[in-house]
Symmetry: C2
Subunit: 430 residues, 2 copies
């Protein structure tokens, strides 16, 4: 590689650096240097190492530099109705709000219009990585992947599988057709993108027949794919899964029997609000990621997930906006929602499980969820270089604040106006 | 009055008009005319009445025109630490965060700096009216009133009374000194403002000796003042009140014995999270307003107030940001917080009390809280003319929405960027 090319992939950012090594504390280093080489973080330095002096440096002045935020669960097609119909529970909401909207993505003109708004807003946010549900439609899913690729964001995107319990306009005709479309999609996107990867996406057990799950399991193995789905979100849903899969010991077991619940490959399950003890044990054993979606769990009155318990068990926890079950795209606001839900859970339900701290939710929104993508979500050496620059000047106060306090206010009060720059996988995207 | 002058006080706004008559529904009238004469709303019309054709008309195009929002409870000096220290419960938070900050308002330079930030941000928000706690300091309280007067916002502001259980730097020296300062303050502000009025503000029972409460009761009568304070926010606080006032039957009774709990004058009590049956009955009898502060009650882990019950009882309920126990100044976000808290309360605590609807919280944030100021918070004929114009163009969607749906998205998703204009008491302020 010629020297010029190498230089372009090596650069330095200067600013007030905050990141997590563990969930217990945030490391804050004022006016420090953050080094990137070939898309990989080389660590944080209080003074610039000599062998980096010839590389380009961007000085963000008094702004904060944080790891890019990771959204472990969201539905791109549902962005169109964010903030609407927040007066139903899950199953009614799917029938009334979600399925009719997702049905529209057979129309590529509509999909283009809707996904443009979604990708623009996601790009403007503090999020650098996301696990995204599309719809069951192959062309619209590929369109979404194309548009996300262009933003520079890193994402895993799934064509949704659903062959039962959905209206005709949205339900796939048969397990065979669903599997066939999935293979078609996987072949078309293979090797196509730099930033976007496919992820297998059975909607949830009530939408997927046993036969479909068997076929998806084979596809998963053949293509070595990660899996995303939903787990134990709502009590009515859990009862329904038991009816649909009477042989299952618990909800997660219905995935496990089809080899779709992690183990030797990454699996992320959204919600995990009402687990049984056996389900918690299996999540732990199989290293299943819990995508905690507090706004969604509150907006759909699903409940408050036992996140403290998951942390105690060492289960991986990341955060999800769950657009549009949740009404906010901002992962900072999802962090606040996670603290708030844990406080009401503590006060109203179980005073043995202490509320989450701002350190813990910041960890979940960065390194916690980032682990689903590999070494992502921190500024430790060897991590992929995702960074977001937040200028908190708008959040005025007469007080002198520590960097840790400024970070706390960024979490609680900032919005997309305050994003001054963003890098994903070593490339600047805003 | 000359014709020109009369004209200046009479004007028309045109836009998509949404307002509440009852808590059950929102009235929405697209592209309609809203008439103001001498600061008073003359109603909403689908076509412009003939006798208004000569008056100035502002056409806000496709924007929404809503009644100005009413914040029934907030602490201006605490704005400086909004979004900080959200990891404590009430009593610890007062000692650690609040009292040290309020102690700074003896320094007029600091007060000027802090109150400038607060008043600028409140002016930019969708709020047109507020009940505001200052600190115990007379000069800084008058400074705050001066600065609020300049914004054009309508507000009731209280010099805080507190003569016990506070650190020396903040505690008033004696009940007599507290009463004397209160009289000094009331004399200085008497007749001084067009927009701002004083309100008697005993901090809460733990901060006010019996002797002070007796003296404040006399001052209240002499000056015919409304009262604002705190009620049954936190279980530790309630136990403490019982210890401090062993003769009281319940927390509200401790105010009632000193003639400070409404009845023949308006009283607003913040929080009301853990009432007894007797307290509810007395609130109802005395027409006490409950200022529901859901973000604060969640952020400080106080609990979730039984707002459905209050509505069933016909108790007046308005919304409060409770800056900085609550971390958001936006009353729209307080509405969302109220719906969310009611959903978790329903799911986790009491499934007999249904969650609040967006119609109900919109009512509380306008007409519900507005009633504390008189005929305020609606566009019915005879109401004081407070209006906020919201341009929702930023909240893009590929869907065609009804006006009601657009309002729902404004509540869930808008922020101060979207405020295109604001009027309070018939005068344009932004």
């Amino acid at each position: 590689m010629r020297k010029e090319e190498k230089k372009a992939d090596t650069f330095i950012l200067k600013g007030n650096i905050c990141y997590s090594k563990t969930e217990k504390e945030v490391t804050t280093i004022p006016h420090a240097y953050l080094l990137c080489r070939d898309g990989i973080c080389q660590g944080v330095f209080e003074s610039l190492p000599d062998d980096y002096k010839e590389y380009p440096l961007t000085d963000y002045g008094d702004a904060l530099i944080l790891p890019g935020l990771v959204d472990l669960h969201l539905h791109a097609p549902q962005y169109a109705f964010t903030g609407l119909g927040m007066d139903m529970e899950l199953l009614e909401w799917l029938d009334t709000r979600t399925f009719p909207e997702e049905g529209r993505y057979g129309d590529m003109e509509y999909a283009k219009k809707a996904y443009r708004i979604f990708t623009e807003d996601l790009k403007k946010s503090a999020t650098t990585r996301a696990c995204v549900f599309a719809t069951r439609h192959v062309p619209a899913t590929i369109l979404l992947m194309d548009m996300l690729e262009e933003t520079g964001l890193q994402a895993m995107v799934g064509k949704v599988n659903m062959d039962r319990n959905a209206p005709d306009y949205l339900c796939e005709d048969s397990p065979e057709k669903s599997a066939e479309d999935t293979l078609k999609w996987l072949r078309e996107v293979k090797g196509k993108y730099r930033n976007i990867k496919p992820i297998l996406t059975p909607r949830f057990i009530p939408s997927c027949s046993d036969r479909l799950m068997e076929m998806l399991c084979e596809i998963r193995r053949e293509y070595d794919l990660p899996v995303q789905s939903h787990l134990s979100e709502n009590k009515g849903e859990i009862t329904w899964v038991k009816e649909l899969c009477p042989w299952s010991a618990f909800y997660g077991d219905a995935y496990e029997r089809f080899g779709m619940f992690g183990g030797d490959y990454p699996a992320v399950m959204a919600h995990c609000v009402h687990p049984t003890e056996e389900e918690i044990a299996l999540m732990k054993k199989n290293r299943v990621f819990a995508a905690h979606c507090p706004h969604s769990n509150t907006d759909l009155s699903s409940g408050a997930a036992p996140i403290r318990r998951y942390l105690e068990e060492g289960i991986h926890v990341g955060l999800g906006s769950d657009i549009a079950g949740g009404h906010v795209l901002s992962l900072f606001q999802v962090m606040v929602g996670a603290v708030q839900a844990s406080k009401l859970r503590w006060r109203l339900l179980d005073e043995t499980q202490k509320p989450l701290t701002v350190e813990e939710v910041f960890y979940m929104g960065t390194k916690g969820g980032g682990a689903f993508f590999g070494q992502v979500g921190s500024f430790e050496k060897g991590y992929e270089f995702d960074a977001v620059i937040v200028d908190d000047a708008r959040l005025q106060t007469p007080r002198k604040l520590t960097l840790k306090e400024r970070l706390e206010r960024v979490v609680y009060l900032s919005d997309d106006r305050d994003i001054a720059g963003k890098y994903a996988a070593g490339r600047r995207i805003i």
